[in-house]
Amino acid sequence: MRGATHAKWAACAAAVALAATACGGGGSSGSGGGGDGSAVLSASWGDPQNPLEPANTNEVQGGKVLDMVFRGLKRYDPKTGKATDMLADKIETTDSQNFTVTVKSGWKFSNGEAVTAKSFVDAWNYGASLKNNQKNAYFFGYIEGYDKTHPDSGSQSADTLTGLKVTGTNAFTVKLTQKFSTFPDTLGYAAYSPLPSTFFSDHAGWLKKPVGNGPYTISSYTKGSQMQLKKWDGYTGADKAQNGGVTLKVYTDNNTAYTDLMAGNLDLVDDIPASQLKNVKSDLGGRYINTPAGIIQTLAFPYYDKNWNKSGSDKVRQGLSMAINRDQITTTIFQKTRTPATDWTSPVLGTAGGFQDGLCGDSCKYNPTEAKKLVQEGGGIPGGQVKITYNADTGSHKEWVDAVCNSINNALGNDKACVGNPVGTFADFRNQIGQHKMTGPFRAGWQMDYPLIQNFLQPLYYTNASSNDGLWSNKDFDKLVDQANAETDTSKAIKLFQQAEGVVRDNMAAIPLWYQNGSAGYSDRLSNVALNPFSVPVYNEIKVG
């Protein structure tokens, strides 16, 4: 880890030098306008953590590739995040539990094979099958038969989901185990992508050079180093690539990527190093984007620990929430790349999607006197000290945890009220959480899978839900979520989810901290650069030249 701290130090030195010399290169000459449809751009990338299978990719780097190479039944509008039909002709249901999906005809994989209902059903069965080790398998958990293909323990007794039936070349039915009205809107997630038959017949070959049905094809892939994607001329969708291709280059250190951007050696960096955030405006001017992403950071609590789950605990949590000066921390530490949270979802949902600015009310506003009072009323901090657990190896978690603690200490007038509790590696951190070893609040980041209010609430706060790490449980909340899922009218369903969110607020189940933004910088060759709500650049819309 020496290297990391050194690099940070040096980056500061470099940043000073950059600012002093007003680096940035000359202005572009005579460019602009329509752009060259055949020019290739280069973009920063990281080595994907898992094999590049759609149901096995759960992080942004692999997600970038899937977003270029695949198109699913639905696609989330890069600007609004709304799910719109892509390959789906129609998805019909009468009871929110049985769905009939019709796939548009005429779509092809880049190897010429037609995309049919079978391409989807086979892909989903593969994703749900335990023996394939797919990390996104739980996405298929609502489909009937999942308990057979993916049992919690022991070996699987079936290889295919009984809830999936191909009923025609372009039609299949989905049967869920429970009512889930917004299920069609989840189908934009990469895990639901269709797969060509070569994926199953020549798996190793496919992994070397994945083949999909999206606007780009992979022309070469050097694992761990770079991937060249070419515009696919045979692509039939409406969102054709506006450039000739994208070269993704793996960078170990985002500082190097940033330096490359400065030197004109790279066109797009979608992860601006924290140390450069101060200079990015002067370096890049208007070529810097900072837009909301579907990520919220919270502090979760261990409800399996009696000390945090007794009468009055909710007041302590509310008090702690009010002791955190979110505005100051997001401004000074994150340079406004994060926004103080006022609810438990994300602004990318939009008000129509269920985001409710200010739902948290006074509980999320900095108010030291009220904070102190509430904590005292609630019986004081368990054990006399809050220990905020976080992993110290990635992100700048130490900085903000220390800042949060300072804020709490100042508000409560007690130097020892709060300390950070670093854990060496992310894996160990997740381990300790998984084994329920937390004795106080811990860092919890949530990146949405699909832009639905359901995704911000159910997996995190429903009793025994997959990511309910603190084991919070509330009957009223569960009931409201069940009702919302059964509600066929979307706007009514969202209202019910918001009511459920109100239960989370009244109990302060987790302290919302801030919404995270995606940031990117680009060279003067590019225009029309944007990040989608998943903080992935919308590559196919970028114009070069």
């Binding site: 170990t252 190097t256 590696t425």
Partner: protein
Amino acid sequence: MGRYVARRLLQMIPVFIGATLLIFLMVNVMGDPIAGLCGDRQCDPATAAQLKREFGLDKPVWQQYLTYMGNVFTGDFGTAFNGQKVTELMSTAFPVTIRLTVVAIVIEVVVGIALGVVTGLRRGRPIDTTVLLLTLVVISIPTFVTGLLLQLLLGVEWGWIKPSVSTDATFSELIVPGLVLASVSLAYVTRLTRTSIAENRRSDYVRTAVAKGLPRRRVIIRHLLRNSLIPVVTFIGTDIGALMGGAIVTERIFNIHGVGFQLYQGIVRQNTQTVVGFVTVLVLVFLVANLLVDLLYAVLDPRIRYA
């Protein structure tokens, strides 16, 4: 000579086993790596259990180690979490790092020894003082500062080089990173050579050679330099291993996808197979380099014999 080499090779076996065991245990102490694979959420228990079984992580550590060693002897270094064979990672990473090391060593040897000879022969003159001061400065500046500074000046400000190295990592691209990597050792080589030359200059065999009327060039190269190189060769030999393993910082700065990159990623992702595999190979490189150095002694100084 043959027996000596055989003995040395045999000695490598316990060192090899001990080193791998230590690394294996150290990576294991960091905890269960599977939990880190699912992002900020709990891996679903069935998949986690299945992955553990597949990577053999459900067995006790000693059994894992034995299986691993057994596989290593058949040339199987295991699989990384992203599904790539570790041998495949090695085959892409090592050529790059070896090229980088070669560039660094060449710079070290050519420039370092030349400067050492010049300063050793002109002790106390202005050139000697200047070089001494310069080497002192180089030694005292950490590699990452030199690296970032050169990258910024040559890459961004003056545009002479690209700030990062491309996937091919050709020799010409590696000159600046090689220089950065070599800088500190270069300073040491200069100082070692200088001292050694200055000392041997007054020795009997040099005086004899001069008295015989040999040309100055021949005296310096054949007699003086050859005898003065022994400490320098020792240093360079051990440096090969250090350069290959210690290139992590340089490789990060210039985005070179070599051994340092793979090691860093292996550690961050707690990938036992990658880390142990790469370190094992580095240990071997270190051992072989040391053996070669010892054999080179005999070449440089005929009085040294191995039996």
